[in-house]
Subunit: 405 residues, 2 copies
């Protein structure tokens, strides 16, 4: 008999009916003889409602108090699910983060899990009970309630799976798995049966919002087999594991894209040591995060320096560059916030040459100009004009044969 | 400098604006240099909303789960008040029943407080913080969340005042004190400056809903000076203490009444030992509570046995009596659910004769027939026809001079 940790997010427990549906699903697993720990988020909208109340009280709500208040959302859903399981004749018991206990540091609103005391959970499982645990929350050494930050319920589930050495951790969400790319852009996008942690991390960081990066990192670190499934449909979802795919593995697992970036270029910068710091220092001081960075050296011993920032930071970053342009002896500052980043991701590219050239040829054949290139061990990203997003994604999806299983 | 425990009920924290008003009031006390522990209920309606959700999950909600869920109501209000105090520049810290900790037995939904660990509260007070504690809740030895039953926030406040040896415990509510009688019945009713615990207990048990009986008992037992005040108006409210009033104390402190009773009589019962048990046994078995009991012996060695029950139980009790009437050899069963109980309450009657006769003469002068009489050391109750309620209350209020201070 297996031990599973199931996590259901806010939309999966967003109404009385949906909580009842979750209970039915849980009961089936219990009746089949498997052991089950269920982690729940708050009902969708509840956390934001509570934060709204907090902001009416205090402009910048005290974070200790905020965590104590916001944690009530999950406390309600776990009790409701446990009641429903009792009604169905399925023994169950709910726990808050304090009760488990899920020990964290004291970084309110973004606490890190330090330890989990699984004694009570193991005792309940041994008695045949379903254990229902409030996600997103913990308790510090002084008994203060903490929360783990957005998406923290995924982290709770993975941490419990690691502590209990569960066979699999299932994350139930409103999509039925991880896709080769966004089906709204490429209708031929296909659900992946499995994907590696590294690929999932690259996909997630590039804008595929299925899982929180932190929970994937956590699962990778503790080797928890993670499966993403739909709360609302049957199916096996996508398994995220260390194991690479089958022998004849696909070169590329998926295509991610990000519409949230903007590009800034400062041209004719004298090519002297320390110039990158002189340009990016003031940007960092303004708390603006930089993503891709490219530097070309021109024939005249000056350099063109290009980088991307979040689109929201575009005009602020441009103003900063313009203010330092003269001091740097640079020629001029240009910017473009009508760009997108498109990336191909796959562990297959480690052992296969020619993947970059296939990507560049495919885009060239479609007449798409590449403005920037960045590579990592399992990812190649290009920046192109925003108008080419759909064309680029579809042509790459086809070029790498992603529509076939 | 004094130490106070203030308790605000659900209507006093029923909206963002009201919580802000409570914060202003609390800050004033803090600024004046006094130490303050504040106990809050859930926002009015919240507890019932949560119980409603629970009942959609389970016909008879699991009580452990119900307590865990319902306790979130206070967890939210204490965090909100603490945030508001921070916003006003008043240092504050909130605690749940688990955090304080308020140790109770494991009788979910009606737990009893066993012990309070006041270490953290004392440390916070010593640092000049206002301590805000969730009312109505505690934690058992195994870390399960418990609740104290309806009105439990009053009990929390009194228990904290006892543990901390507070100078006074203030119960803020929607009335500005304890009155000589209900002002809706007798507009000349006057707020009492002080009342004894015993009088308050009799008034409360007779239908004056200002305070929960349990919290008054608790305050009496631990000699906590209790003050009832309005959240919405200024004033000193009513102090409830052991000390009896001034030398020339009033004979009577107040007039209570109860419209919720109904009267049942079984006549012509053979006057044999054990007859009272034979009549009331089946009533108790049906879980019906009996209030007043009167038995008269007639000349023919039979007896008429009369008692009152809650009006909701009237027809059930009548059916039971009718079913046992023949077995008892009794003549017949009659009933009346158009009655009220009117009581005069006062510690003064201990040391003054003639109070009962003043009461009976007053009612006789108004042509009001007395159907039943019951007395205790500090109370005389009569049952009269419901139509005489207002007349009885007003004439007694005047006869005992209650409109004068």
């Amino acid at each position: 008999m297996a031990l599973y940790v199931y996590k259901f997010g806010g939309t999966s427990v967003g109404s009385v009916e949906r909580i009842k549906a979750v209970a039915e699903r849980v009961k089936k697993v219990h009746d089949a003889g498997d052991s089950l720990v269920v982690v729940l988020s708050a009902m969708s909208g509840e956390t934001n409602r509570l934060i709204g109340l907090a902001k009416e009280m205090q402009e910048h709500p005290n974070e200790r108090e905020l965590d104590a208040m916001v944690s009530t959302g999950e406390q309600v859903t776990v009790a409701l699910l446990s009641m429903r399981l009792h009604e169905l004749g399925c023994p169950a018991c709910s726990y808050t983060g304090t009760q488990v206990k899920i020990l964290t540091d004291s970084s309110f609103t973004k606490a890190r899990i330090k330890d989990i005391d699984d004694k009570r959970i193991r005792a309940d499982l041994a008695e045949g009970k379903v254990v229902v645990v409030a996600g997103f929350q913990g308790v510090d050494e002084d008994g203060n309630i903490t929360t783990l930050g957005r998406g923290g319920s995924d982290t709770t589930a993975v941490a419990l799976a690691a502590a209990l050495k569960a066979d699999e951790c299932h994350i139930y969400t409103d999509v039925d798995g991880v896709y080769t790319t966004d089906p709204r852009v490429e209708p031929k996008a296909r659900r992946l049966d499995r994907i590696t942690f590294e690929e999932m991390l690259e996909m997630a960081s590039l804008g595929s919002k299925v899982l929180q990066i932190r929970s994937v990192e956590f699962a990778g670190k503790y080797n928890v087999a993670l499966r993403v499934l739909s709360s609302f449909a049957e199916g096996n979802g996508t398994l995220i594991t260390y194991e690479e795919s089958q022998m004849e593995s696909a070169l590329i697992s998926g295509i991610a894209f990000n519409r949230d970036e903007a590009k800034l270029t400062i041209t004719g910068v004298p090519d002297l040591p320390g110039i990158a710091f002189k340009i990016l220092g003031p940007i960092a001081d303004a708390n603006i995060e930089v993503d891709m960075i490219v530097q070309n050296i021109a024939a005249d011993a000056t350099t063109d320096f290009t980088f991307t920032v979040h689109r929201n930071d575009f005009s602020r970053a441009k103003t900063i560059l313009e203010s330092i342009c003269a001091d740097l002896g640079a020629r001029k500052v240009t910017g473009d916030n009508n760009i997108v980043k498109v990336s191909i991701v796959g562990v297959g590219m480690r052992s296969h040459a020619g993947i970059a050239s296939t990507m560049f040829k495919t885009l060239a054949d479609e007449g798409i100009n590449i403005q920037m290139i960045a590579t990592s061990e399992i990812k190649i990203s290009v920046v192109v004009d925003e108008k080419y997003l759909e064309l680029a994604v579809r042509s790459l999806h086809s070029a790498f044969g992603l529509e076939q299983a």
